[in-house]
Symmetry: C2
């Protein structure tokens, strides 16, 4: 690999000038600039990122944390792939790369060792202290689905409360009065917020909430199934169920069908997330869609803003949610 000194020698200029050509080209004379530029292309010179990082203390890399909860190795984000793609695309437009951090080392430590410019956290509500330490440190970070702010920390999340309200309101509009809920793990922010929305909608309509019509589950298919069995055992039975995640909703649908109930006639079901499956499973799952692409782009924007003006972090982004009505209600 050619070095900056070779280019300098080749062009009979100093290394400083070569460096300037690649960093502040406007301050070097057009002829010199062109000459150096051509020479660099000819001998295949590429600036060494490690050396640049060492000198500038900026690595142009941002850390990515997503599997923060080692207790649940199979944890799946409903649209992680979209987030990664959009995030990567948006960041690379600013010349930033994504470094996936492993939890074998404290995140903060890894971030410092690598001179990371910032960090993006995709949390699942595990309250991992290693993650929280990051949010409190000096390093710019933006959290997804984790409402955490700080002097260098902001977040992006969906309007979970509003979405849930929308869903439940829809059930009420359909004439339902006994509406149950299957929530996700309540220590996670999205689950808690969706429950809040559920409550708000019922309260606004003056409807009661039966204690045995609220069951906490785990966002997974089997969990939804089990939860539904419990709901079906209650008396009087709910006529509609709001499941705070589509996987759970689909599990619940199976349980209902196995119990001989027709959907939506005997029991209506609405989910949350609008996963691919929701449109495919008969009779189609009414659900609340999130702005999938919005997460990545908003996170990248927020991060870039923080990197440019080191002052206050930008305000949190709350992405809108929309109700998608299908056959299950």
């Amino acid at each position: 690999m050619a070095t900056i000194r070779e280019v300098a020698r080749y062009c009979d200029v100093s290394v400083a000038t070569v460096s300037r050509v690649f960093n502040t080209p406007e301050i070097v004379s057009p002829e010199t600039r062109q000459r150096i530029f051509d020479a660099a292309a000819e001998i295949g010179y590429l600036p060494n990122e490690s050396a640049r990082t060492l000198a500038t203390k900026k690595s142009n890399m941002v850390g990515l944390i997503w599997d923060t909860d080692h207790r649940r190795p199979g944890w799946r984000h409903p649209f992680l792939q979209e987030i990664l793609v959009t995030l990567k695309t948006a960041l690379s437009a600013h010349g930033l790369h994504l470094l996936m951090l492993s939890h074998r080392e404290p995140y903060l430590q890894a971030a410092r060792r690598h001179n990371l410019d910032g960090v993006v956290i995709i949390d699942n509500g595990s309250q991992d202290p290693a993650v929280l330490a990051l949010a409190d440190a000096e390093i710019p970070c933006v959290a997804l689905d984790l409402r955490r702010t700080g002097p260098t920390c902001t977040y992006v999340t969906s309007d979970n409360t509003g979405g849930a309200t929308l869903a439940v309101q829809h059930l009420i509009d359909r004439g339902h009065r006994r509406i149950a809920s299957i929530t996700g793990p309540l220590q996670t922010a999205p689950a808690a917020e969706r429950l809040t929305g559920f409550r708000a909608a019922l309260a606004a309509a003056g409807l009661p909430i039966a204690a045995d019509h609220m069951v906490e589950s785990d966002f997974y298919l089997d969990g939804g199934h089990t939860a539904m069995l419990r709901l079906l055992a209650s008396a009087p039975r709910p006529t509609a169920v709001f499941a705070a995640g589509d996987e759970m909703a689909i599990g619940a649908m199976r349980a209902a069908r196995q119990a001989g109930l027709r959907i939506p006639d005997d029991i209506a079901i609405v989910g949350f997330d609008d996963i691919e499956l929701a449109a495919l499973v008969p009779p189609g799952l009414t659900t609340v869609a999130q702005d999938r692409a919005g997460f990545g782009t908003a996170a990248a924007e927020a991060l870039v803003t923080m990197l440019q003006n080191a002052g206050q972090p930008p305000a949190p982004t709350v992405l809108p949610t929309t109700l998608i009505v299908r056959g299950s209600t």
Copy 2:
């Protein structure tokens, strides 16, 4: 951030000794080692990775390339997430981090600039020249689902041919004689190999292949739907269909159902991949499962092998596939 010189001064030793404590601890006397180690912990010293990389030319980072085809931004790998998780876990066990490369810059160039130790390629058959350049360069790389070898390049793939043979053999065993195929884009290796397996199974059974019973599609749901419509329009109609991907298979099932056909009585369908959906969509999709976790771990192992002994790259890994029989056949 504390530097190595501060630790050295603090302990009244030379920086060389401190460096040795972190790299070759066995050659420094136990007392000194412990003293330095304690001091480092006390003043919060962390070795700067950029400086280490600069000096050693090893970055402990491996590049990850997956969206090689910019023409299909929404490209989805059926189990990208599993691959990422397992790959990351396996690599971090060796102290390696994963850097996601963007296609805004030639991959090879980015790899050199960052002193990447190696690269993992998740290809979708795009034949991207930037990817191929990587495989031909001096940098260790392992390709997934792309049969590419070289002096520093090996690959990991599923036994697509064998899996397809398994699937078609299964249809033949069920008594089918007119078996059609819906393939993926044939320029991708998995699609081509699955077609080979399809042909091999029919040939072994002495069955003919009708030209209008082989349609090329795109691995997506709608593509499978369209392909099935064409198959249903042929005469005589096939009694069974091998779709080279589950999404296509599910699209095909819908088309069949919409045409009033019963599955599996009127037409049998078998897919490939065993995506989550396969078990959920009634009556359950018979399919060929791949070793999802195997990709990541095998890739990591192959890469680490290449990093350790710089000689010949390890032989390619071909992961076994297994048939999973469900209601659709």
